[in-house]
């Protein structure tokens, strides 16, 4: 490598301070948006996504409980099963309920601000934490690898020339903000992370000067003094420190978050995110995480509604509920959506240690006023929908079959939420993925097949009378029943198998 090339390569990896002797390029100019807080237009350009990573692999069946298969559920996992009468009911959705710790998310669901995407995974699932989370973060097939993350590629494309030509008039703030110790692959662009990272909530409050650093782990004497000094400099070296400080001082938390004594680290992170959003930080993506979901043993306590998993779900639910309420009070609710993801789901059956082992499908949550429908896919069919389909006697471990490829959700976020041109989205995700109609009031066919087969519909459900329906060109739909719909647009073909009628309610 020639000197000059190395210099260029090295500079591009430095974010966002530029090499200039001891000098540091000043990034102190005030963000225009911070100064004009009044502007909260609902244009796509203002839209934000908050990604919540549940590290370890969340147990979906004890999170979203398929009440319609309760006895099978009990049969698969009696030692950890949530009692039926303790499951939280969901308005207009009698077949499904939430873990009793999830009162906050239950309320959000009932307000129409939270969607469940059932049984999300990808073909040929991998059950290694590292590999599977990598697949989720990079957005690739199980047999592919990518050195960039799905959100990083989006930002890399949307904000060409970052970081050399930034901040600029179009983007004065960090493209993405992560709170976490280890930079996430999700935000990796083609050459470097597209985001800036705050190690933990403490480092945020230290950065904005409202908290003094913890000195308890410092050695004595000069070494302690030097380490403390270096940490201070590390904090100041966080990219876009001045923009973050400005946004933090312009923004406020208006909702009540769980008390610090609750030890809800997710809520603490989301609280910072809400404050920065309110303060006008233009960052497109925030990335936070909650660890501890790898519940191989002891996921419930003496009582099945308590224990490790209940604590985690309470943190998740309380955190999201407080965050969403904060956005509502701030008036920023309409420009933010959130999504959760995890390494993988866990087995349908529990193990003998009151835990669950690595599995396949699990629900994702998408929340915010932007969601247009609340259920994508159906409850995992615990009668006939487990893998292996026909288990041998020794195959006691059963997995939840995938219904929705996670990249369909990514694709909807990129297309419908961020307004990316579909051909560009396909490029970012390496190919086309069918919509889930998560952000659309119209459902559409994604393949030919029987009308009554949920799998042919974009939202993974048989359309109801309230739906606007499109039968896409090239799809032949066999109709064996009367059709009731709000609207019906047929670009493909309806093949009636008998004397059935179409009733459009308008």
């Amino acid at each position: 490598m020639k000197r000059r090339q190395f210099l260029t390569a090295a500079s591009s990896m430095l974010l966002p301070v530029m090499v200039d002797g001891f000098g540091v390029k000043s990034l102190a100019k005030n963000s225009a948006l911070v100064q004009s807080l009044m502007k909260t237009t609902a244009l796509n350009s203002d839209r934000i996504v908050v990604i919540i990573y549940l590290s370890g692999g969340n147990d979906g069946l004890n999170t979203v409980i398929p009440l319609e298969y309760y006895s099978e559920y009990m049969g698969l996992r009696s030692n950890i099963a949530i009692p039926e009468n303790r499951v939280l009911g969901l308005s207009g959705n009698i077949e499904t309920g939430f873990h009793p710790a999830m009162t906050g998310m239950q309320a959000l669901y009932n307000e129409g601000k939270l969607a469940i995407v059932h049984a999300v995974s990808y073909p040929n699932p991998n059950q290694s934490h590292v590999r599977s989370s990598d697949i989720w973060m990079t957005g690739v097939d199980a047999n592919q690898v990518s050195s960039s993350g799905w959100a990083g590629r989006y930002l890399n494309d949307r904000f060409a020339g970052y970081p050399q030509n930034y901040p600029n008039g179009e983007m004065e703030d960090p493209l993405a903000v992560q709170i976490g110790y280890v930079g996430t692959t999700t935000l990796l662009g083609n050459n470097q992370s597209m985001g800036i990272t705050l190690s933990n909530p403490d480092s945020f409050y230290q950065l904005i000067g409202t908290q003094t650093p913890n000195q308890s782990d410092l050695p004595c004497c000069d070494a302690g003094d030097l380490i403390s000094y270096v940490r201070e400099q590390q904090l100041l070296a966080v990219g876009y420190a001045s923009e973050i400080k400005n946004a933090a001082s312009a923004g406020n938390n208006l909702a009540t978050y769980p008390a610090a004594s609750a030890g809800n680290e997710l809520a603490e992170q989301l609280k910072i995110v809400a404050r920065l959003i309110h303060g006008g930080l233009k960052s497109k993506i925030y990335y936070v995480e909650l660890g501890g979901f790898d519940t191989h043993a002891g996921q419930v306590g003496t009582n099945n509604t308590e224990g490790l998993h209940a604590q985690l779900l309470k943190k998740l639910s309380d955190g999201i509920a407080a965050f969403q309420n904060d956005l509502k009070l701030q008036g920023t609710e309409d420009k933010v959506i959130g999504m959760t993801f995890s390494d993988f789901g866990r087995r349908a059956n529990s193990n003998a240690s009151k835990g669950t082992d690595h599995g396949v499908g699990a629900p994702m949550f998408v929340f915010g006023t932007g969601v247009k429908r609340q259920v994508i896919g159906t409850n995992p069919n615990l009668v006939s929908g487990l893998l292996p389909v026909n288990p041998q006697s020794w195959e006691t471990s059963r997995d939840i079959k995938m219904q929705i490829d996670f990249r369909r959700v990514y694709s909807d976020i990129l297309n419908d939420w961020f307004g990316t041109v579909p051909s560009k989205t396909n490029q970012l995700l390496f190919r086309n993925f069918n919509t889930t109609s998560l952000f659309s009031d119209t459902v559409q066919t994604i393949s030919s097949g029987a009308w009554a087969n949920p799998e042919i519909w974009s939202n993974g459900r048989i359309p109801t009378v309230a739906e606007k329906i499109i039968v896409n060109a090239g799809h032949v739909i066999d109709v064996g029943q009367n059709i009731n719909a709000k609207t019906l647009e047929v670009n493909g073909e309806l093949r009636f198998l008998g004397d059935f009628n179409v009733n459009i309610t308008g």
Binding site: L7, F22, Y181, V182, D222, D294
Partner: protein, 544 residues
């Protein structure tokens, strides 16, 4: 406390590592093992005697493999102006290579040479002539362990110094006081004593300049010249007597004439300077800051600096350097645990120390000059950008963090932290290929195969825990052992990402079972990378 008393406890891994970190640019793990169990005296004696192994290393060569004269020596050829900057870099690489190499004989030589290089500063930029820089470096390196008097006399006549500090232009008709001042202010007595009193007067500067009149250099930057050096020109020399102030006991240096006048008066001047009581203190204080702690308190001044200075200047020692160095490096105060981690690593301690810690071999300069150049280019570029420019410092004062308030803290700011992180990341995610089969950086999978006993015997030999792997990867990495809670954080949060530690064994066994399968390799690799990347970016890694 017994400050300068000899530390008598046998060295542990921790104290051996401390000695090696300070006396050299950083130890390999093997060197720490080799030095553990020795007494401080045995250890320092070895570090001193080992200097002979590299007393006369092979000279630098043309390292640009695209040139016809690649691999050939250039210092034995006529001056070649077109290549002067490249040759200067090759000289720098040559020296950094000596600092970095792991030849099994760790020695005080290069670190001490670097001390004198930062003390008697000559910058390459002032001459632009690579031969001058080479001669200067060889002079301080050859005499680093000799006698301070030899150094003062020799550096005063060094052709590079004569150009840099304008001794070259100093004549009886038009005296140039530059060197006469720096010789006192920086090189010998120091500007002020510890209490803040001036150590010399302005008239002393003028008098010293007059003593030094007449020295000149020849063939600076003369294309095709085959020799160069310093000469004394008696006709430019001021032959009058030179009188000094009470600071020097009103010494008068008798004016001489003739060819030997320059040397004779310089010897007198040096004697006067070395008789000044502040000279040994100035040097010993600087050595203390270099080797032990930049923070010199009154207590340290009284109990360490002054007694050490008295010894340095004593008639028995007469300014010999090695005995002072030995006394310092074997002292109780050197091994006082409060001084562990008490200095921020300079870019050299950071970069050279990292490559030595990870035992990354230096290609042979003579036979593998391309690979050698690539490695040294990486190092030299990093150090320069991190504000350490060997042989071309910003000022005659040396590098800022060795004298400015805050001392070693001055190495650290947002830019340099970014650069430091970028270069440690380069070890974790290797990208620089020095030669086929040698990527500069860490091979974690190989490391894991070494840590795991009976690697392939999955059924018969239990997988090592992540705690064991953490202990190996973090061994000797920090000057101060991390606390248990820090270790737990590093294992649970960074390495295991909050999944149970037991998962590591499954992942490791998957790798042991299918060592060539990328999906099986990656979890193990990824966790080691995440851990090492984080540790090398910790504030704790920045101090030594």
């Amino acid at each position: 406390m017994a400050y300068l008393d000899t530390y008598t406890t046998s060295l542990t891994a921790s104290t051996a590592a401390h000695l090696l970190r300070r006396a050299t640019f950083g130890p390999t793990n093997q060197e720490i093992v080799d030095f553990t169990g020795k007494t401080a005296t045995q250890a320092v004696d070895l570090l001193i005697s080992n200097a002979t192994f590299r007393a006369s290393p092979p000279p630098p060569v043309e390292m640009d493999e695209t040139r016809a004269d690649k691999g050939q020596q250039f210092l034995t050829k006529p001056f070649y102006g077109d290549r002067t900057y490249d040759y200067f870099l090759f000289i720098r690489y040559w020296w950094i290579g000596l600092m970095t190499e792991q030849n099994g004989h760790p020695s005080v030589l290069e670190k001490l040479t670097a001390f004198w290089q930062n003390h008697f500063v000559v910058t390459h930029s002032s001459t632009g002539d690579y031969r001058f820089t080479d001669r200067y470096l060889r002079f301080v390196r050859d005499n680093a362990m000799s006698n301070f008097r030899t150094l003062v006399i020799g550096i005063t006549k060094d052709p590079g110094m004569l150009v840099f500090q304008n001794g070259n232009e100093n004549s009886k008709e038009s005296p140039n006081e530059n060197y006469g001042r720096e010789l006192q202010e920086l090189f010998t007595v120091g500007q002020k004593d510890f209490a803040g009193n001036a150590n010399y007067t302005e008239d002393d500067v003028k008098a010293a300049a007059r003593v030094l009149t007449g020295w000149q250099v020849n063939n600076l930057w003369v294309e095709g010249s085959t020799s160069f050096g310093s000469v004394f020109n008696p006709s430019r020399h001021d032959t009058d007597n030179k009188s000094f102030s009470a600071k020097y006991n009103n010494t008068t240096i008798t004016g001489r004439s003739g060819a030997s006048a320059g040397d004779t008066e310089l010897a007198d001047l040096t004697t006067m300077l070395l008789n000044h009581p502040q000279t040994p203190r100035h040097i010993c204080r600087k050595l203390y800051r270099w080797y032990i702690n930049p923070n010199v308190t009154q207590e340290i001044e009284d109990n360490v600096i002054i007694p050490l200075a008295n010894f340095f200047a004593s008639s028995g020692n007469n300014y010999a350097i090695v005995p002072v160095l030995k006394k310092l490096l074997t002292s109780d105060i050197f091994f006082d645990s409060n001084n562990f981690g008490g200095i921020v690593k300079s870019p050299a301690e950071f970069m050279v120390g990292m490559l030595r810690h990870f035992d990354l071999p230096v290609p042979d300069l003579t036979s593998e000059y391309t690979a050698f150049r690539k490695m040294m280019e990486f190092q030299e570029w990093a150090m320069s950008k991190m504000q350490l420019r060997f042989l071309d410092q910003p000022l005659v004062f040396g590098s800022v963090p060795y004298y400015q308030t805050g001392f070693s803290k001055n190495w650290i700011n947002g830019t340099t932290l970014g650069l430091r992180g970028q270069h440690t990341d380069a070890m974790v995610y290797p990208w620089l290929e020095l030669k086929p089969g040698y990527m500069l950086g860490l091979d974690f999978l190989k490391w894991i195969r070494q840590i795991q006993p009976n690697f392939s015997d999955v059924a018969g030999t239990e997988a090592v825990t992540c705690d064991v792997v953490f202990a190996e990867l973090s061994k000797n990495l920090f000057a101060i052992e991390p606390t248990q809670s820090q270790k737990n954080f590093l294992i649970d949060t960074i390495m295991m990402r909050n999944i149970p530690r037991t998962s590591w064994k499954f992942e490791l066994n998957a790798y042991r079972t299918s060592p060539n399968n990328a999906d099986a390799q990656n979890p193990v690799l990824w966790r080691c990378q995440a851990l090492m990347k984080y540790m090398l970016r910790m504030a704790e890694y920045q101090v030594f």
